[in-house]
Symmetry: C4
Subunit: 271 residues, 4 copies
């Protein structure tokens, strides 16, 4: 069991860093997982930005969101979100509360996010909205009281996602990996939905386009030797690999290879 | 022949990483190439995210999308896309199926992507749409059955690109480099088309602009010594090169040079 | 006292780099702090791009924006912004003038930025506008004269933020950390507000969505073992950490782990 | 003289990499400078992607765009743009032809780019449009014939910028640094103009906003010790510097500091 627990803790820390890296979380937002050996407890980091979280930051909480051991660090103020949902939803093993930029325009405008592509179906048919103002009047919008957490859990119902007006969203999953996927796909879905709505609105008029003769002539540009050589060298350099060397796997996205090495690779290709 | 094959495999792995790096592919999407020595076979990675693919991941398939050797890893579920198109299109040597963010709003809104700039002409006059729902009713939108692949290949016809409603797109090429260019230019074209449509819709009213007197006076800001020194130092630092040292080629996009080195470069320039 | 001063100088240099890194400042814009030991003076860098500023670049100014010691470097032309506001606002300890991309569309269109999410409340109820043209006619829009600085300070009044038409914005704070937060949250707020306004305008028509049957079937895609393995490997590689190793913390955003190491991590997982 | 020439060559190579890094150029586009010792010649790279260009790539051309020395590499097809403008404009010392993403929507929609903020004034009052179709009918839109280059130079007239329908733009400068600034500011201006136009169109209806009570309460969130500690650690880690150590200057944009080091910095801060 201790090994299992340690694995889950490592995986939770990694999930935090992944969601920080993929643009779901920034300085704010948090991810929790139900304790693998005790459904009456959950694991959540001390108050820290997700991108920086390591296994050593993870603490254990009761479902009343009280730390099991006396805390030696700041705790997230909004941890009742997690406790209240774990109480209400025995099927839920992982929870993420976030303010992802892709989702914010929808919760500000009060417009529903609906699945618009196959992966977006992970958010379910139409996520419910919850407005803290309705039940609690003016607040600072943070969900910090048990009754606020319970109210949010009621709004979530048996959905995988609940939208929070002027604040963000909360996502749940049957396991940590499903949760991470759902949070990321939800953001992609929101981005695509906003742009698809724009397209629908704009194409009332005629679309600008190339005349047919230009399409035919310009369609051949990308087959010019001059162009093929230039683009392939560029895209290869950015990805950090060559075409004739043993696979030098991409070390980072958007990196430009030192020109000196790129030049060496291409030796002999000059006329 | 073996060397030729190995070169093609390396190139295919690199093409995967390039398309992963340029924002066409992410965890999903795949690229294949027809076997250089046997038009009845094609090469495609095991199920893996394109950015991570190496030569050792590439497998060989028949045009029925069966692996030639017993697989020891997960396979892409949607490989029939590749097999069915290679069967229908002898002129095609390379295929990419993707869900690029630039393309998704169009396939969600059901609005055509048309060439709007010279490089965008690579997608042909107007890519056809294919809706899996039309022939197969409710599915999970993945193209996994031979009859689904064959239907998609029919919709593609002799076009270089086919759009897939609520799912993504499939692009073909006469060779791997043409394919990679076409996929990248298609995404750029879609981005520009969306924004051009916005511009068309918005410029009904007057555009905000600087008064003539301000244009004249502010037009000289970028020639102030104060400003020239500051901008040049900044942009040079970001690209990783100095103005007075032997060309230190850019090592990565968006990198900011350590200030210590930057300071050293500028020694003696202070008054 | 000297230690306290040095700490403030280091913190100010860091604040510059943070705001340069978070997209508030680029080659332009500047951040100052009131002198910790003398409210009649303030600290501000010599003319340099914020991303590159180190403690050694920080100079001391009187509230008339004159350097206390004879300068040996170019000074910011617009430093009167800082001096005039410190004169007018004893409660202000830190000031940032910027042209953040998120804010520019609003100050160009002359449309108010208003708090649209909880963190955006840091900008106050509705930031006032200041148009240099009103009082000074055609200028190059830079705030360089004491009377221009004083006019801007009057427009700011007791608000935390003032918007400057066709130019940018100026933000103040009770301390440097509040200022940095406010400047960053202001940019996020502006981005979300623009997109929320778009959403409001566009959803007059029906939103595109997946048919109910597709939502149900496609909702299960992210639970396919094939897919879970692929996405988790990809997102882990991008963040630079593995799921089964001791936490290898993220070293940079968007980095793709060398495939060789990734392959090693996954050894034994192939069937 | 030779030293002066070598300096200009290094600067031209750096200008290419800067414009590649700042999003003005990608695999395409090129930058030239008039020969410092002979106004009848200009310097331009061999056909290569700007981000990769080093001093050794720079070649010398006559104003008829013929290489002075027999070429041993591919040349840019569109170099007549440079030769023809240097012929027509003795005041011009540097030229950049580009297809920057920020500019493309305007040249596709055929909508003018006008200065909308102080730095944007560098593009002049209203850049003229040039449509290759008008004089030359259907082409592949590349400017490769001397008469095409001469026509473009006529359209440019005495402006600093000319827009090219469905293709891109060409920018000129009195020197290389003015040119680089103008090209970058032009892209920023185009981005801001597009978004300002959106704002103008959208704010017909009421803007969504927080209720007054929430603004007041939520305005204090960023002063919570819990929040200040978390945000400051996060933003510091991303920029690569600490608050209490000697300035560790930012090494790259968007990097996240290894958590181990971050943890070390924070030792003793836990209660």
């Amino acid at each position: 069991m201790p090994d299992k627990l340690q694995d889950v803790i490592e995986e939770l820390a990694l999930a935090n860093r992944i969601l920080g890296n993929e643009g779901v979380l920034d300085a704010f937002g948090h991810v929790s997982v139900r304790h693998p050996g005790d459904p009456g407890r959950y694991l959540l980091s001390r108050s820290r930005s997700p991108a920086l979280i390591e296994a050593g930051d993870i603490l254990e909480y009761t479902l009343d969101s009280e730390p099991v051991r006396p805390p030696t660090a700041h705790l997230y103020a909004e941890r009742v979100i997690h406790g209240c949902i774990y109480q209400a939803r025995p099927d839920v093993t992982a929870i993420c509360h976030h303010h992802a930029p892709a989702v914010m325009p929808f919760v500000i405008a009060g417009k529903p996010i609906v699945p618009v592509f196959h992966l977006g179906a992970a958010i379910g048919e139409e996520p419910p909205f919850w407005d803290q103002q309705d039940e609690f009047g003016d607040t600072n919008l943070l969900v910090v009281k048990p009754e606020e957490g319970a109210s949010l859990a009621r709004a979530l119902g048996d959905h995988p996602v609940v939208l929070m007006n002027r604040h963000g969203a909360t996502v749940v999953g049957a396991d940590l990996k499903e949760l991470v996927s759902r949070a990321i796909f939800m953001c992609q879905n929101a981005e695509y939905q906003l742009r698809a709505l724009m397209l629908r609105a704009f194409t009332l008029g005629a679309s600008p386009t190339l005349p047919r003769g230009e399409i035919e002539l310009a369609g051949a540009i990308s087959r010019l030797p001059n162009v093929v050589g230039r683009t392939w060298e560029y895209w290869s350099a950015r990805v950090g690999g060559g075409s004739s060397v043993a696979a030098a796997p991409s070390r980072r996205v958007k990196r430009v290879k030192p020109a000196r090495q790129a030049a060496r690779r291409k030796t002999g290709r000059r006329k």
